[in-house]
Assembly symmetry: C2
């Protein structure tokens, strides 16, 4: 988590504590799948989505605890998508973040089911009156202060962005475009859907749970969509020029697989120009919030100009 | 759908019409996954879960249209679980209901993602204000007449029963018990979780959406749990003595795989005795509803004494 600004770090710690609470213990029967779920959730993700969700909520409310269950839900969904993407039938990746992927440790069947279980757990938490049994500093606030209509809308935003019109659709087109040299439109579709949709939904869920207005919803949703597109674009840049030790995985994989990326289609320089342009647009969308959006500005800088 | 009583048939027709409305069209981009989703949903399921949900709602209200989205959601979740169970890494089944399984037609990657997409679509529909765009006879009623608190509770019931504490947990133990000759407790766990949990949730969702009381919720939930346990038990009986033409699959597979079933542990006669005992208990739970529960009684008879 090095290089991340302070507020971001605080949100990450909060989310990790809550995820630990919401996930069944490793020794719950049947043990293997609970171990696999925890293994992948705690394999060192950057927690960008939940942090963005909480930072967006923070623009409109002092108490962000009511947004914590939704923050965990989007991270669980992100984790499930990585587990399934890594499977032999999909990207067939043996390592992620420097560690063996879920199916390498627990086998394919458990990895498929652990992904399914994390996706389902996300919706269980989002709809629960009391997401975690036992001493839980988060859920009572969530249950008490969020209107049921708002909770339904948050569930809808997250489900819609994760489904076949969002993340899953992006993954399908990504897979089907390998080796086919698709046009820029298709690459934009992949980046917006595969990565952008859930990041956009994270921002929108944060605005809803913080109590922002409709105009904030569309403005920060648009910000999330740009950030998501940039996130994938920077991932593709890093695959060519990133710090392989920090990333914990081999570089040059996209070219080897003939993945459909901006870098492959447009070259390094044009991709970096596009990144800079997206950055400018993203910062403009944050301008109306002034200093209150400082943490969001910093995370934006990190996403666009990170080296891992 | 032969042999099914009339009310059941009517509900099945309603659900199939609504599912057709909720599923993206086959020619939606990206086409392959939409085709795969529709292929598996319309591969000839018995529609037991959605029919039970609607029949439970019907005990308490004349208008069951507000329960239709939830009925479709449980059938989508059931379908996703079959797609994933059939995968090579899981049960490795080439045929289901006499047709090639999803991964045999569309490949493993698309089959995994089609399952993921159906699971996600279930929660999108459950949380949507207007589950289907365009002319939709169902959703306005659903949006108008169901309190948001009730909708949240329905989402929770369905998510909880589909997750690692329900259906997925059952599938894990089922897989891990193959060839291990586990005790009756483990077999009961498998039957209750893998099949019983979602059927129980379907009944409970129906009661909630129909406006039943808490005592109906626990009574019909218990009825669903028994029915689910019986459903799996009868499946295991059919694997030994069923009509293979009607089932559209080969028999004797459980013995070949050394599956953990009552039949393997206790023999045919004791399994049939247990079925009869479960049937008696299930019918007792329906008794308080008298003639209004006629359709539920008939479906119970079908589930316990079907030959396919």
């Amino acid at each position: 988590m090095k290089n991340h600004p302070e507020r971001f770090k605080k949100q990450v710690a909060l989310v990790e504590q809550a995820m630990d609470l919401y996930l069944p213990a490793e020794d719950c029967y049947p043990e293997n799948i609970h171990k696999a779920m925890r293994y992948s959730v705690f394999a060192g993700g950057k927690r960008i989505r939940p942090a963005l969700l909480l930072l967006a909520a923070e623009l409109f409310t002092e108490s962000t605890s009511q947004a914590v269950p939704a923050a965990c839900a989007v991270e669980f969904i992100h984790t499930y998508s990585l587990i399934h993407d890594d499977l032999p039938a999909m990207d067939d990746d043996a390592y992620r973040r420097g560690q063996p992927t879920c199916h390498k440790v627990y086998g394919e069947a458990i990895a498929i089911l652990a992904g399914d279980a994390l996706l389902t757990l996300a919706f269980e938490i989002l709809s629960s009156r009391n997401p975690a049994a036992g001493p839980d500093p988060f859920s009572p606030a969530y249950a008490l202060h969020v209107a049921p209509e708002t909770r339904l809308r948050v569930i809808y935003e997250i489900a819609r962005s994760s489904g076949v019109n969002g993340m899953i659709g992006g993954q399908v087109v990504d897979m089907e475009s390998e080796g086919k040299n698709p046009g820029q439109e298709v690459i934009a579709y992949i980046n917006q859907k595969k990565t952008g949709a859930l990041i956009e939904a994270s921002l929108r869920a944060g605005v809803l749970l913080g109590g922002g207005r409709e105009e904030d919803l569309s403005r920060l949703g648009r910000f999330g969509s740009l950030l998501g597109e940039a996130f994938q674009l920077v991932d593709d840049l890093l695959d060519v020029q990133g710090d392989r030790d920090k990333m914990g995985k081999a570089g040059g994989m996209d070219a080897q697989r003939e993945k459909a990326t901006y870098v492959a289609a447009q070259g390094l320089q044009k991709t970096m120009d596009k990144r800079d342009e997206l950055y400018r647009q993203a910062m403009l969308l944050l301008a109306p919030y002034g200093d209150a959006a400082r943490a969001l500005q910093e995370i934006t800088g990190f996403v666009f100009y990170r080296d891992y």
